[in-house]
Symmetry: C2
């Protein structure tokens, strides 16, 4: 019979204590395979506890497999001979899991937004309203593509601002464009070859590499991605940003758009992924219609995000699938849950339907125009103007600053970093095997710059770049 001493400190219940005692005896070998345990009643009497206590302890031990019961016979200790005996783990001093990030005084490399620019009060208000009026909806699982109200709001927006005519169910909402790419790869097949722009946004290439699909890199000429090189590349799918190529800042000409659509039409397996990541922020001239709006053959998959237009931390992106791909999506990938929380989907739907999104975009466009103009003005008024040239400043939230210098880009970058300035060069966005890489061109992102810091930031930059 057991002899255990219970503690009445209430930290752990009596049955847990009994469970621990018996388990320790089994693990130490004191109780061995096949040993019969006293009956629950006998053990309770002996230990001075209630039968419920022994019952619970035995049940816990049984459910974890330490003991087993035979009908009308009682409880026995299980075979735990194959116990897991780990070798001693070597305790070595290990590096931190993530190396610490360098902090900068001025960051021309970040494409984040400033907290002051997020419409917190409207957002909080709409979220509160949603909590009041749509409890059931908030808790009912969203269809795979997203909630209908947001799909409809996006349809209206896309029709009005990007000339895109789509049914709500063609719109698939997901937690970031990176996630949507992974869905697209599953939809279009892992065997397809994807063409990316060179220079380009390095994350896209990393994703394709990480999921193990084939990709090739195609360079741009003045009109956009080269069709001749696209044909040579053997690609099936062209992943591009015709409205504003990153980082080159180029806009694809209308004739090239038509050529590209013709290219896609030549073979059934060909598609175009149109990544329209910052089209809301074309700061000069008329907005360009989306490539998708010219497409008559269900060849263009349009992708956009609220990263630039609301916040990168809200993680809401969407894609417009051509009709036949939307059908395929629901048939083949409809088992996936939508990755965006209902709470935020409903809030964003209201934000759009009540006209707040349009207002916010207009406000932000004016804001970024001011920031850009101030930055350009400061550069113009500084000695930098003598040894640099601004280019591609009309579309999107970055421009190019071409320097007249002999210093290599890597050295300039290092000097800037030493002065607390983060800059990225166009050359960093080129593949290692590129033949013609333009040197001395800074990609100037300004969305995360504080207005009041701009004069000092330009001064600091000037000190670094001018010997």
């Amino acid at each position: 019979m057991f002899t255990y001493t219970f503690e009445n400190d209430k930290k752990s219940s009596l049955y847990m204590q009994l469970y621990d005692f018996i388990k320790a005896d089994i693990l130490s070998g004191k109780l061995r395979r096949g040993d019969k345990l006293p009956s629950k009643r006998a053990a309770a009497k002996h230990l001075g506890v209630s039968v419920i206590t022994t019952e619970n302890a035995y049940a816990a031990l049984q459910s974890e497999g330490y003991i087993y019961s035979l009908p009308k016979k009682g409880y026995y200790v299980s075979e735990i001979s194959k116990l897991y005996h780990p070798a001693a783990v070597e305790q070595v001093r290990r590096e931190p899991i993530i190396p610490e990030k360098k902090k900068y005084l001025y960051d021309f490399s970040s494409n984040g937004i400033l907290a002051d620019n997020f419409p917190f009060s409207v957002w909080a208000h709409l979220m509160r309203e949603t909590f009041h009026h749509a409890k059931e909806d908030l808790i009912s699982p969203s269809p795979s593509g997203g909630i209908a109200a947001l799909q409809e709001a996006l349809c209206t927006h896309l029709k009005q601002f990007r000339g895109i005519d789509a049914a709500p169910l063609q719109i698939i909402i997901g937690a970031g464009t990176e996630y949507l790419y992974s869905l697209l790869i599953q939809l279009l097949g892992g065997q397809a070859c994807y063409a990316l722009q060179n220079p380009g946004y390095p994350k896209i290439a990393k994703i394709y590499k990480s999921v193990g699909v084939k990709n090739v890199f195609v360079s741009e000429d003045d009109n956009g991605i080269s069709i001749r090189r696209l044909n040579q590349s053997g690609a099936d799918i062209a992943h591009i940003s015709p409205s504003h190529s990153f980082p080159s800042g180029k806009v694809m000409s209308i004739s090239r758009r038509h050529e590209l659509l013709n290219w896609a039409n030549e073979e059934q397996k060909r598609y175009i992924i149109e990544d329209d990541y910052d089209s809301e922020f074309r700061l000069a001239g008329k907005p360009l219609p989306a490539l998708q709006s010219l497409d008559k053959h269900e060849k263009v998959i349009y992708v956009n995000t609220f990263t630039k237009s609301l916040s990168p931390t809200i993680r809401i992106s969407y894609m417009v699938l051509p009709r036949h791909l939307a059908e395929l999506f629901y048939r083949r990938l409809g088992f996936y849950a939508c990755t965006v929380s209902n709470f935020e989907q409903y809030t964003l739907a209201e934000f759009m339907l009540q006209g707040y999104f349009e207002k916010h975009i207009n406000r932000m466009r004016n804001y970024y125009k001011k920031i850009r103009n101030l930055l350009l003005q400061e550069i113009k008024n500084s000695p930098l103007a003598q040894c640099s040239e601004v280019a591609e400043e009309k579309a999107g939230l970055h421009f190019l600053l071409k320097l007249k210098t002999d210093m290599p880009d890597a050295l300039l970058k290092k000097k800037a970093a030493a002065a607390g300035i983060h800059i990225s060069f166009l050359s960093e966005y080129y593949r290692a095997d590129s033949t013609e890489v333009p040197a001395h061109v800074i990609v100037m992102n300004y969305s995360a710059l504080k207005k009041e810091n701009i004069p000092a930031a330009v001064k600091a930059l000037e000190k670094v770049l001018i010997k």
Copy 2:
């Protein structure tokens, strides 16, 4: 010289109208390749508009590539000979993109939650607080694994409730376990072979199939997944739910847990994915420690979700990576943005840190106990009791109802559906090539049942199941 008639309806600005006129002339062939346009000044004078209007229109046409300029010469029409000429798209009546879903009166198949059970008022309060106090944090991109506050809150919770000892950075937060699986596949390599349980949750198999990795199916015996069959399968990674297998409801015995850890230790490439999806709702006896808490060799990847414990629509899941895999994650996949919105990460962190999560879980555990007991009581008091047997009712939010009947499962399911009742059979969760499939066993989910509907639901079920 152009002759265009402008409308003063303010719907579209003068420059947009001019842009449209010229574009239409180019597309129709009225203006041809190489044609010289009048100077901006001459056109303005002729049309009776300002020079700014013609300037804007020309700039828009140029940025889209319809016209080009030669320095000191003027503007010319581009070559648009390769224009995209789509064939007429056949207009056929098409099926709806998603077939309509059947609605049920009583759903024993859903594992959703009821809106009344979500802590809306606390959540709204915490979100409002976060909006007030953490604006900067809400807008600063979260590290790839998630925000530190939530990682820390999860660490404390896991230590206390699941016996898991992990550093915050070992915890990776993502928008749903489905998404985390896709990260794991990228981390562990697409060449590995994954073993899944048979019977099992079909979505997991669908994900592996969709991303194109190899998987095999291993059946369970009374102690859990069979090690002998696991060895025969050639699998490198075992994806299992030791605390509560779905749908069988089985709990892996302690000796099998040790055997499984030994299996993983035999080869370097072997890992265990421990999917602990509803361990919070072990309704009887002591909570089982996680398999991960026994692991001394960094072989167990622990995965859990707030789908059951908060809401399936909130899309927050997490995994605990062994230390060396966490390092690999940040090195190789650290470029991915975290897929959960900062707003909800901070709110959930507060919800956990302020003790609301523990309270909520306790409340829900009691609530589900009541629902389960009521359901079991209603079955016991109905004629169903004579021709059925309840099993595996202790852990998690479902149990098995084994029927004594001759009717095939498919027929029973159909009859139930006709009566407005949604039921799923254990047999539906077996692979098509399984040898021994138990018939007449209903998987009874009860988390989405309304208390007041239970008596009527059981009565309706009784009518269907008893001839």
